[in-house]
């Protein structure tokens, strides 16, 4: 027993200093770490870095795409606004033109109507005038004829006799009546 304890003590002393390393353990750690390092360099880091790079690219690409889409949309909006303004201006212009044109047409029509009515009035006046002239002319000639006829009759008969004079007048009137009846026929 004593022997055992003594040997344990001496062995403990040999091992006792915790700063003295076990060479085999150092070897295992060195080799183990080298293997791990190899795997990490060869596989782990490249795979993670590739994923990170792909992800960054995807995100940046997405952002660029979104920015492009936004720029496009705002350009389209600008264009539409421009077109809308243009269309409004166009519509205003057309409306103004139409109004001006309508006024013009109205004025033309009014002028035309006035001219027409003037013309018609003129024509009527001319017709009335010519009729009157004709009536005057015919009346004048008829009255002359009548007067000469009547005067000849009166002169051809003795005017002293009242009975005779009355008969002459009656005859003249009857003649006049037959004459006008014949004219009416």
């Amino acid at each position: 027993m004593n022997q055992l304890i003594i040997s344990a003590a001496t062995e403990g002393e040999a091992k006792g200093n915790p700063l003295i390393p076990n060479v085999w353990e150092m070897g295992v750690v060195l080799v183990g770490f080298a293997v791990l390092m190899y795997i990490v360099v060869k596989f782990v880091v490249p795979m993670f870095e590739k994923t990170f790079a792909e992800r960054a690219e995807a995100i940046e690409g997405g952002i660029a795409k979104a920015e492009a889409a936004q720029a496009e949309a705002s350009a389209a909006l600008e264009e539409y606004k421009q077109q809308l303004t243009d269309a409004r201006a166009e519509a205003n212009r057309i409306r103004e033109e139409a109004r001006a044109e309508g006024a013009q047409i109205l004025a033309d029509l009014k002028a035309k109507a006035a001219a027409e009515s003037a013309r018609i009035t003129e024509q009527a006046h001319a017709a009335i005038e010519s009729e009157r002239q004709a009536a005057v002319v015919s009346l004048r000639s008829e009255v002359g004829t009548l007067a000469t006829t009547l005067a000849g009759r009166i002169v051809g008969e003795a005017l002293t006799d009242d009975e005779r004079a009355a008969r002459v007048v009656d005859r003249f009137l009857a003649d006049l009546e037959t004459q006008s009846a014949g004219a009416a026929k």
């Binding site: 344990a8 003295i20 353990e25 791990l36 990490v40 596989f43 994923t51």
Partner: protein, 266 residues
């Protein structure tokens, strides 16, 4: 061996577990050495766990990640952006991401072992692994400095600019010691010591509870509950420190690399 001797001792006294308890019997002993230890198995297992997880997570490479891929990307992005990009910066930080990434998760998984029941053994509670990790980093940042600045790098790293000449005899030895001698030692021992201490505390609490429960006295038995409460609190703290140390180790590596890259502006 002491564990074997314990039952023979007087059950009235408590023998706390010591540093020697950190060495479990080998799984596969060979020769005069300790043979294939549990630490070695755990280190190999950690490589398998990390590689499997990240290859599965990264394999699909979907633009819209699934749960596994998202978790992998979060973990990878943490080292890539919060450590490599923030500290080293520039456009060539990506070159150092694999090293920082491997360091962080290798140390993290090997530390977290200490918080997992049954496994309960942080790999870096043995100093060998910590030495190896610090040595890898040491060689790496010196190589980066030499590649970037040529042999002039040693002057840039040890002679600070803007210091009056008469102070240089004091400053230069300090810079040499702090940058080239002390730095790798603190880098490795910080990791090792926190893991060892954490593991020791968990062991101490465990054996303390066991000892108290075995006592005849009811009050002493009851006192084990207090130890248990303390042990749970320490366990939480240890879990935090395990993650934190992985982060600190990687962060310091990034700072050393950054210093080597931009030695002329420091």
């Amino acid at each position: 061996m002491i564990a074997l001797a314990l039952p023979a001792q007087d059950s009235g006294s408590f023998t706390p577990p010591g540093i020697d308890e950190m060495h479990l019997p080998a799984i596969l002993p060979w020769g005069a050495h300790d043979g294939f230890s549990k630490q070695m198995l755990l280190v190999i297992l950690s490589v398998v766990i990390i590689a499997t997880f990240f290859i599965l997570a990264a394999r699909k490479q979907q633009l819209v990640p699934g749960k596994l891929q998202f978790a992998g990307e979060m973990a990878y992005g943490f080292v890539r952006n919060s450590i490599a990009k923030d500290i080293i910066g520039g456009k060539d930080f990506i070159k150092y991401v694999p090293l920082l990434f491997s360091l962080f998760f290798f140390i993290l998984v090997n530390n977290i072992y200490g918080a997992i029941p049954v496994i309960q053994l942080p790999s870096f509670s043995h100093v060998g692994g910590a030495y190896v990790m610090a040595a890898i980093v040491y060689v790496t940042w010196i190589a980066i400095g030499l590649k970037k600045n040529g042999i002039k790098y040693f002057k840039l790293a040890t002679v600070p600019s803007g210091v009056p000449w008469y102070i240089l005899p004091i400053v230069v030895p300090i810079e040499i010691i702090s940058n080239f001698l002390v730095r790798p030692v603190t880098h490795s021992l910080r990791l090792f010591a926190t893991m060892l201490a954490g593991h020791l505390i968990v062991m101490l609490a465990g054996s303390g509870i066991e000892f108290l429960v075995m006592q005849e006295n009811v009050l002493l038995k009851g006192a084990s509950v207090l130890v248990l409460v303390g042990a749970i609190a320490m366990y939480m703290l240890e879990a935090l420190i395990m993650a934190l140390q992985a982060y600190v180790f990687t962060l310091l590596t990034a700072i050393y690399i950054e210093g080597a890259l931009h030695a002329d502006s420091h």
